[in-house]
């Protein structure tokens, strides 16, 4: 496996220079590896993990998950419709699912009205979308591996120990 990818998988947030030190590579080698990962469409981009509820300007942000049933098409299955849906800026993630519905869509909006509007005006009106079931998220406890706001004890390790 690409040594840089291995480190990225650990989920830390090392700078290129730090990755270079840990992996025992030069900075330019790390950059080359990152370029390669992008070329191979493995590395799609970088995103911070944020607790939006703590910032006044974003505290009203609303997230929802939507179960969407769609009708598959001859030849293309679910893909054409899923990709079409996924392109909306409001959509953060979109997955094809097994089970009782077809697509699971994560959306984000500045307010309840915005998200509701997106669902009723955009999403459900797309030809081929049979039904939607929207669940608003009330509170986030863990996001992408990060716990929010729990008092995980700050380390109490002794500084010097046998």
């Amino acid at each position: 496996m690409n040594p840089v990818l291995k480190l990225l998988l650990e989920g830390g947030s090392l700078t290129t220079a730090q990755i270079a030190q840990v992996a025992g590579l030069s900075v330019s080698e790390v950059e080359q590896h990152l370029e390669q990962l992008k070329k191979d469409k493995i590395l799609l981009g970088w995103r911070p993990v944020l607790d939006l509820s703590r910032e006044a300007a974003t505290a009203a942000t609303v997230r929802a998950v939507i179960e969407v049933k769609i009708s598959p098409e001859r030849g293309g299955g679910f893909n054409r419709l899923a990709e079409r849906l996924a392109r909306f800026d409001e959509v953060e993630s979109c997955y094809l699912m097994s089970g009782g519905y077809d697509l699971l869509v994560f959306v984000k909006g500045a307010s309840l009205q915005k998200v509701a509007g997106f669902v009723s005006e955009k999403l459900s009106t797309i030809e081929g979308v049979l039904s939607t079931s929207t669940h608003f998220m009330l509170r986030c406890y863990k996001d992408q591996g990060f716990l929010l706001d729990v008092g995980e004890a700050t380390t109490t390790r002794l500084n010097v120990a046998p």
């Binding site: 830390g12 730090q18 030190q21 840990v22 995980e152 390790r157 500084n159 046998p162």
Partner: protein
């Protein structure tokens, strides 16, 4: 009559030297609030994996608050027996060849108390874990230090053992991979040590607490070598591999008659290990291995990082095959290990432990624990580099 309360302290306790670690601990404590990066620790930076913590919470919820049998919960002893067979290739009966203890610390103490008469000689390789020699003194036995050397990457050699051996030696304490050196022995070296133990009829106390943290090749337990299980007490615990130092849980495995002797001491002094820790340990053994592998992989990369940096900086350092300790030489800096450690702490705010805290054979070296995040390790190495390059005060 004297009024000094010290008159009540037993002679052999009064005579114990103050731990070099303790001295250094106090020095570091004085620098509180000063952004010290500590490589002076002896435990993982990882918190115990959540499934293990959760199992302990569940145990409490179910009211598991009682004593267990002296030897420990039979379910746990079964799990230990299976684990030791799978990972070390030695079979112990859960019923009478396994005892659960309060850390490897208690297991070591039990063994020394159970097997040493006053005056018996106990060999141990040095530099070594700080408790070994004092634990020997506490049972009125006599410690015989066997040096290990940087040129051998601090592996114990049968030659050094033979050179140090004296009439009256009864026990050999082994700690491979070793705290503080990270030294290990390969199978061939171990076989030579085993042959020597059989020749001199030594009982081996093998403290393999760092064995899961072996980065290259596989760890070999001396107990798995022919003719050795019957003369070896295998000591192991959860502190390091499972990041469970604060739980205080370990175990010893060995011939039934010897475990029974240890049990006698244990039942009168400790009764049993904490049931909550035992419940957590059961979870660790049944569902904790993936976490061990994840942590080992990180230690491995951290080791490569610090060892490479130390050597680049000019602190000659062998790559420890196991443990989370690097043990570089500071000789090239022209300082002794104590001046190096205190200078580094005061000038650059990085704590490492002077090698002499681990015995005379640790002079000229410092112990740097790499169980710390990449970011911190990089900053620590940068600071050490600045310290080494700065003109000496």
């Amino acid at each position: 009559m004297s009024n000094d309360p010290k008159r009540w302290v037993a002679g052999h306790v009064a005579a114990l030297p103050k731990s070099g670690i303790r001295d250094f601990f106090e020095l570091v404590a004085k620098m509180k609030g000063q952004d010290v990066i500590s490589l002076g620790v002896g435990e993982p930076d990882f918190v115990t994996p959540w499934n293990i913590r959760e199992a302990a919470i569940f145990a409490l919820e179910r009211g598991k608050t009682y004593y267990t049998s002296n030897l420990g919960m039979i379910e746990l002893r079964r799990a230990i027996s299976t684990y030791v067979t799978e990972h070390f290739g030695v079979d112990y009966r859960p019923e009478d060849q396994v005892i659960v203890t309060v850390g490897v610390s208690e297991a070591l103490d039990l063994a020394l108390r159970a097997f040493c008469n006053p005056g018996d000689k106990v060999m141990f390789h040095q530099p070594c874990y700080v408790s070994y020699h004092p634990s020997i003194s506490l049972v009125h036995a006599q410690g015989v230090a066997v040096p290990t050397f940087a040129k051998d990457n601090f592996a114990l050699t049968a030659e050094a053992l033979r050179a140090a051996w004296q009439p009256g030696c009864k026990v050999l304490m082994l700690n491979l991979p070793c705290n503080p050196t990270g030294g290990t022995c390969d199978r061939v070296q171990l076989e030579a040590i085993a042959a020597f133990c059989r020749e001199k009829d030594l009982l081996v106390l093998s403290d393999e607490i760092y064995s899961e943290l072996t980065f290259e090749g596989t760890h070999t337990s001396i107990a798995s070598l022919p003719g050795m299980a019957e003369r070896t007490i295998f000591l192991h615990g959860f502190s390091k591999a499972f990041a469970m130092t604060g739980w205080r849980l370990g175990y010893a495995c060995g011939p039934a008659a010897l475990i029974d002797a240890m049990m006698k001491v244990h039942q009168y002094t400790m009764l049993c290990a904490s049931i909550i820790a035992q419940e957590a340990a059961l979870e660790a053994l049944t569902r904790g291995w993936d976490s061990v592998l994840m942590m080992r992989e990180q230690y491995h990369r951290r080791r490569d990082l610090v060892v490479r940096r130390f050597n680049e900086i000019g602190l000659k350092c062998h790559s420890p095959r196991g443990s989370f300790y690097a043990f570089p030489s500071v000789a090239a800096t022209g300082r002794n290990e104590k001046d190096f450690a205190s200078g580094l702490l005061l000038e650059q705010k990085v704590a490492v432990v002077p090698g002499s805290a681990f015995g005379d054979n640790g002079v000229g070296h410092v112990r740097a624990c790499f169980a710390t995040s990449y970011e911190q390790l990089i900053v620590a190495c940068d600071r050490i580099e600045r310290f080494v390059q700065a003109p000496q005060k």
